[in-house]
Amino acid sequence: MDPAKALRELRRGTVEYCVLALLARRPMYGFELVRTLDDLGGLVTSLGTIYPLLARLRGDGLVTTVTRASESGPARRYYQLTARGRRTLAAFIDEWKRFRDSVDGLLDHGRQGT
């Protein structure tokens, strides 16, 4: 039993939904998305590994990209959620809340028993 490993796997399994949740707010370009993710959660140690994740989400049709002009420098590529991405995120949020409540209930029960 390794609590650190369990939490690591949990982060690994949920980080892509965190990315979808951020993009549900508004379209973001890569650096903006990665920085927000880093500031809010501190989930990711190597920020560059988010880009393969974004490519995979795009390949799965959960996000798409649009190029927009930038006030400073070349045009930027923005990621935005697709309709499929929104449905996937909504389904995950429902499941996550059930999971979270179950785990919280069990852990609170365990804490009272100690």
Binding site: E16, F31, G48, Y51
Partner: protein, 220 residues
Amino acid sequence: MNGTRTAADQLVAEYLNRLREVTRDLEPALRADILLDVEQHIRDARGAAAADDLDAVREILAGLGPADQIARATGSPSTARSQRSPSERAYDRITVGLLAVGLVTLPALGWVVGVVLLWRGPRWTLRDRLLGTLVTLGPSAFLAVNTVLLFAMTKTMCIEPVDGPMVCDGPPGPPAWLVLVLYAISVVIGVLTCGHLAARAGRADRAARTGRSPSVAVAE
């Protein structure tokens, strides 16, 4: 300032070159996406940094993480394949190649080098190493022993009378066809062993690939 700026640009160029190298086997569109995003990330991060100098660039690249880690995060077996450098791939091939050549030639320098590489290589077990050493030596050893035996028998069994031609008496050596068949069998076993060593190297690579975590590098 110019010198600092040049060093920072150089550092970025080296990082991107490494990323291009380790993603070279990726599907082209996926690779282009990742390279474009990372390049844009660096540009944006430099623009947002308090100072665009070498330290700032170092910090940005450290935040991105090693290029190899980004490549691994694609989870693509083809990317994992790219984790092996050409020299590592060549090492395995040269090792097995030299041992295979040693099968049909006398154990000359090439075979010796092959055995050294086999024992130093990371992909083979002790059993593989023993097998590779002994079996690939087999055909040459067989020929050598056969030659020595033949010579010894000839020497001890032949008599040359004063008044007549030399007469060889005693048990004859093994027939030539039997020697050839046994030699061929030892070569075939050696070839199969070389195939086993090559397959083992391939399996070790595949195991290493599946053992990697093809995902985002999350916090501990």
